[in-house]
Amino acid sequence: METLFALATKVVAQLQSATLGFLIGGMVIAALGTRLQIPNAIYQFIVFMLLMAIGLEGGMEIRDANLVEMILPAISAVVLGLVAVLLGLVTLARLPGIKTDDALATAGLFGAVSSSTLAAGMAALDESNVPYEGWVPALYPFMDTPALILAIVLATVLRARASGEAAERVRVWPIVKESLQGGALTALLLGLALGLITRPEAVYESFYHPLFRGLLSVLMLVMGMEAYARLHELRRVAQWYAVYALFAPLVNGFLGFGLGYLAHVATGFSPGGVVLLAVIASSNSDISGPPTLRAGIPTANPSAFIGASTSIGTPVAIALGIPLFIGLAEVVF
């Protein structure tokens, strides 16, 4: 009881965070019909800056990191991405009036990773003074790519089986490439490489790091406005998508917390790292996942997966998930 109360207090306190304020503020002003626009060029650049910062820091940390400590979390990330898709297949896809393709595309998106949620989680941990291994955010692709691939492969196989034809062999490598070539993942991976190989300390400390929190606030505003703008797409599709989008981030997140906890016990994964793994699992891809899925499962209706992800999944992951996992960590560790 007491711990539940402590958890609730923690969650409420998080609601005063500026990060969340910008997200909710974005929804509110969009609902009020503002003409304010953050230009697309600025949005794209912010995403680049955040992921480059994440990559650079990850790369510099990995230089001195104990690689053995990274094995369990990395495997957990892959497992979480795959499990999220399978969970979608046995829940969402079985609901009345839901097409399997649409369900798999949606589950793929929720298994994949959102850079904005990840960055918001990092900022929240920093504000709460909870340290974590600098390479944790770099687990992003370990969860993102497997989720997208599994969703596309399953959809292709099931579609073939349904039409009675022999399933055409799905070529996985083009999907991996397509996924890694996305702007966000490229920035992350390039940052990782530069952090590992070159000496970017000066530019990181003078530019990417100090601007991180501020750029994140602008990104939150954009995500909030976008969440509201996409609501109408959600209204076109079955309400089960909204229900799924409400629960999937929390379920995926708690699974992430659980696997992270095992890594904590086994190889000393830090509490902050556990929280961040949960946040990554809880997040759903809002930037580069959709086109990969649209190309890979062309028969799926984008209104279903994008509305659910952008309008409900991301706000739930940020506004509920992050404070919940931080609160849980304070209770558990």
């Binding site: 626009q37 953050i38 230009p39 697309n40 600025i42 949005y43 794209q44 996305g182 702007g183 954009v222 995500m223 976008e226 703008a229 109408h232 797409e233 076109r236 809002d286 930037i287 580069s288 959709p290 086109p291 649209r294 190309a295 062309p298 028969t299 984008p302 209104s303 994008i306 952008t310």
Partner: protein
């Protein structure tokens, strides 16, 4: 001297731009012009102004000047290949050009 040829216009999702351009080039067109646009059709509004939070989810318009046969073939092939799963429209117009050799396939 002006010569009669056709212009075929394709308005569709940015995502499949490269696929459309492959059809255009394979059909024997000598060039194309691409515009970024927004619009509304049977599948809802796409805007070129709002941040494209979802990468590549807005419209492109591809204009191709070509001989009548090539133009019609492009329109039909694009529609047959893509317009079941992707949103898009295509249309053909008359145009008069000055240098017909410029728009004929060099084989």
């Amino acid at each position: 001297m002006f010569y009669d040829v056709k212009k075929v216009v394709i308005i569709t999702e940015k995502l499949i731009r490269d696929g459309v351009l492959k059809i255009v080039e394979a059909a024997g067109a000598t060039g194309y012009t691409v515009h970024e646009t927004g619009g509304k059709g049977s599948r809802g509004i796409r805007s070129e102004e709002r941040p494209h939070v979802v990468e590549a989810f807005f419209n492109v318009q591809v204009d191709v000047i070509a001989t009548e046969a090539v133009a019609r073939q492009i329109a039909e092939e694009v529609a047959a290949t893509y317009f079941t799963n992707y949103s898009g429209i295509t249309y053909v117009q008359d145009v008069e050009i000055l240098r017909p050799a410029k728009f004929e396939h060099h084989t």
